[in-house]
């Protein structure tokens, strides 16, 4: 995984649950079907209430109507990002749309686990609330090695928490590559 991720940020509030990330009506697509997987990108974050979608102003789409990919590389959230259901379709949808990293104060545990074990997204945590520091569209850079997020639009830099216990699995690219590297399952 790239160590520096740059691009515009899409900003959300607290308790963004998995129904907002990928509404249940789209769960009939099979993520293991290559021709259907792209629809998770199309509908990523489509359940977020309009006023909360792209803060501070709201009313912005993460993925434009009829498109499969987003122009945003980084998603910024507040507290308890990804709460609600265990659907792995949630991190998959954000990743399928083309974003690479989520930066939130903290995550609901199943969402975090799905990000890491499925190798979809980097779930970074901040020591500081960024929801009011970054505006949707601001150019940002997340540097994993130095554990920082820089808002290039404002010139301010913020510290990210260390990846901790999950780092070996993130470095390997998910639970399956990790298990192969460590000899838990046969290398394929």
């Amino acid at each position: 995984m790239s160590q520096i991720i740059t691009g515009p940020a899409f900003v959300l509030g607290d308790d963004v649950d998995t129904d907002q990330i990928i509404p249940a009506e789209y769960l009939s697509y099979n993520p293991s079907d290559a021709s259907e997987r792209k629809y998770f990108g199309m509908y990523a974050l489509s359940g977020v209430p309009r006023s909360q979608s792209g803060l501070p102003g709201g009313g912005q789409r993460f993925v434009e109507e009829g498109q499969y990919k987003t122009k945003y590389a980084i998603v910024i959230g507040g507290k308890n990002f990804g709460c609600g259901s265990s659907r792995e379709h949630a991190p998959l949808a954000i990743a399928e749309a083309g974003a690479k990293v989520v930066v939130a104060e903290f995550y609901a545990r199943i969402f975090y686990r799905n990000c890491v074990n499925g190798g979809y997204l980097l779930p970074c945590e901040t020591t500081q609330r960024l929801v009011h520091e970054v505006r949707t569209g601001d150019q940002c850079a997340v540097d994993i090695a130095s554990a920082t997020l820089t808002n290039k639009t404002t010139g301010k830099t913020y510290t990210l928490r260390p990846l901790g216990d999950a780092k070996p699995i993130i470095d390997a690219g998910g639970i399956f590559p990790y298990a192969r590297q460590t000899g838990m399952i046969k290398a394929g």
């Binding site: 769960l27 507290k79 609600g84 609901a108 199943i110 216990d165």
Partner: protein
């Protein structure tokens, strides 16, 4: 010897270690892995991709598949997903699969005619204990966040994603971080106007939707012992709504009687918290001072008393799901609705085909109905409720033709578990979460209504749901 909680003991035993401490990461053996029609196809896809097209599951008696989410819909992809499950079950020789056998061909499937004559069970979290897959001391993983429901039986049960499920499917193992335990003690006996739903809404309202993140929620005290097994399932079911990793209750005679009757596997172990073990949080409630609660839109922690919300006008009532669609929930609701008429459209969805069957055969006291008595089903029907077939239905919205789905921006009071924006369908619909008593009372008035206005004495549910 370290003093451990129930959850720590289960993890230690499944990791082959004498003890574990909160915060440690351990690899554990899994007893049962459950998946359903929404996450099964993705899990199966990852399983085949990672282990190879000819791979076999680690134990064909321990992978349980229960289609329940998108059953009564004309959407073809949903029918296709059920077929993926069927093909996998056949290929692998899985022993426990509960097919929606009436889903054949295209269009809206005609529901089962008789709930006793179908392999279909309905909502997985209700079906798992009914079919004997839930036992004290075991580890259950499921590709659904409400898998934590089974903690009511003194086991460790938690929701996982497709990748974790695929990994466990091939290896029988998963890694878990040992959670610290929060202890919620309830003193006294449950009064007739409260159900476990009021208790869990009070807890979530106090600690917030992230208050138990990465933690175990342990529900203790004589107040919990006074609950039926089904009502305890309501508590552990909603542990996830506070961010909890799992929820647990102590095992008692009610638990043992149920599990011995349902499960064919003899080797399981009853564990409990050691005296003096460490809790990261403790709080106690007196049931006598608690009130009927609601969670207002759009969060399960947006708590208020039902009485404070009496001016809230409602468009719909909904009684169903793994949280509020059990036979005891149906008896609670029917007791209030008996001989009266609902003022707003009221949808009822049995949590399982067993619940559906019990609704047809039991009276309001949870006993087999005698000549001249009405069944729970008849009471609800006579009150004007629309009763659908068992399944997850509108609890999570689902396809637009789902029974009871909120397709308009309306206000609904519901016995379900989650009310984030869009959960039951329309993004701007407002969902009030409440107990079956409060939902039934509100259905009679069209406003959020405290059930104390209608409950005059204890509601006996007899052996409903356990016999």
């Amino acid at each position: 010897m370290a003093r451990m909680t129930l959850t720590e003991k289960i993890m230690a035993r499944h990791a082959g270690r004498p003890s574990v401490e909160p915060g440690e990461n351990v690899w554990v053996g899994v007893d049962i892995l459950m998946t359903h029609d929404v996450c099964g196809p993705g899990t199966i896809g990852i399983f085949k991709e990672e282990f190879g097209p000819a791979a076999k599951v680690w134990d064909k008696d321990r992978v349980v598949i229960i289609p329940d989410h998108y059953i009564f819909t004309a959407e073809e992809k949903c029918h296709r997903n059920i077929q993926i499950l069927r093909d996998f079950v056949k290929e692998q020789g899985l022993r426990y699969y509960y097919d929606a056998d009436f889903v054949q061909g295209s269009g809206m499937p005609s529901p089962y005619r008789d709930p006793n004559k179908t392999n279909y069970k309905g909502v997985c979290h209700k079906a798992l204990p009914e079919e004997g897959h839930v036992r004290p001391g075991e580890i259950l993983l499921g590709t659904d966040s409400h898998t934590c429901t089974a903690g009511a039986f003194g086991q460790f049960a938690t929701g996982v994603g497709n990748t974790d499920a695929a990994f466990a499917m091939g290896t029988g193992k998963t890694w878990l971080k040992v959670p610290p335990t929060m202890k919620f003690t309830f003193h006294g006996r449950i009064p007739p106007y409260l159900t476990a739903k009021d208790l869990i809404l009070a807890v979530i309202g106090q600690i917030s939707v992230s208050g138990a993140t990465y933690k175990t929620m342990y529900f203790a005290g004589e107040g919990i012992a006074s609950l039926t097994l089904e009502d305890r399932m309501t508590l552990t079911n909603m542990a996830i709504e506070a961010g909890g990793k799992n929820g647990v209750c102590d095992v008692d005679e009610k638990t043992l009687a149920y599990v011995r009757k349902r499960s064919t596997r003899p080797n399981w172990e009853v564990l409990k918290d050691d005296p003096g073990c460490a809790y990261c949080y403790e709080h106690a409630w007196d049931l006598a001072t608690m009130e009927p609660m609601v969670a207002k839109p759009h969060s399960p922690d947006n708590k208020d008393t039902a009485r404070n919300c009496r001016d809230v006008k409602l468009d719909r009532a909904y009684i169903g799901s793994c949280t509020g669609g059990k036979i005891t929930d149906m008896i609670f609701a029917a007791t209030i609705l008996q001989g009266k008429q609902v003022k707003i459209p009221t949808y009822v969805v049995p949590g399982s085909t067993e619940v559906h069957s019990d609704m047809l055969k039991l009276n309001l006291k949870g006993q087999p109905k005698q000549a001249g008595q009405k069944s729970v089903y008849e009471v609800l029907q006579d009150a004007g409720c629309q009763i659908g077939p068992s399944g997850c239905a509108a609890c999570l919205g689902g396809p637009s033709d789902t029974f009871g789905r909120l397709n308009e921006p309306i206000a609904c009071i519901s016995t379900t578990n989650r009310n984030f924006p869009g959960r039951m369908g329309h993004k701007d619909a407002g969902v009030y979460l409440a107990s079956p008593l409060t939902v039934a009372a509100s259905a009679l008035t069209g406003f959020v209504t405290d059930p104390r206005d209608y409950v005059s004495g204890p509601i006996e549910t007899g052996l409903a749901g356990v016999a």
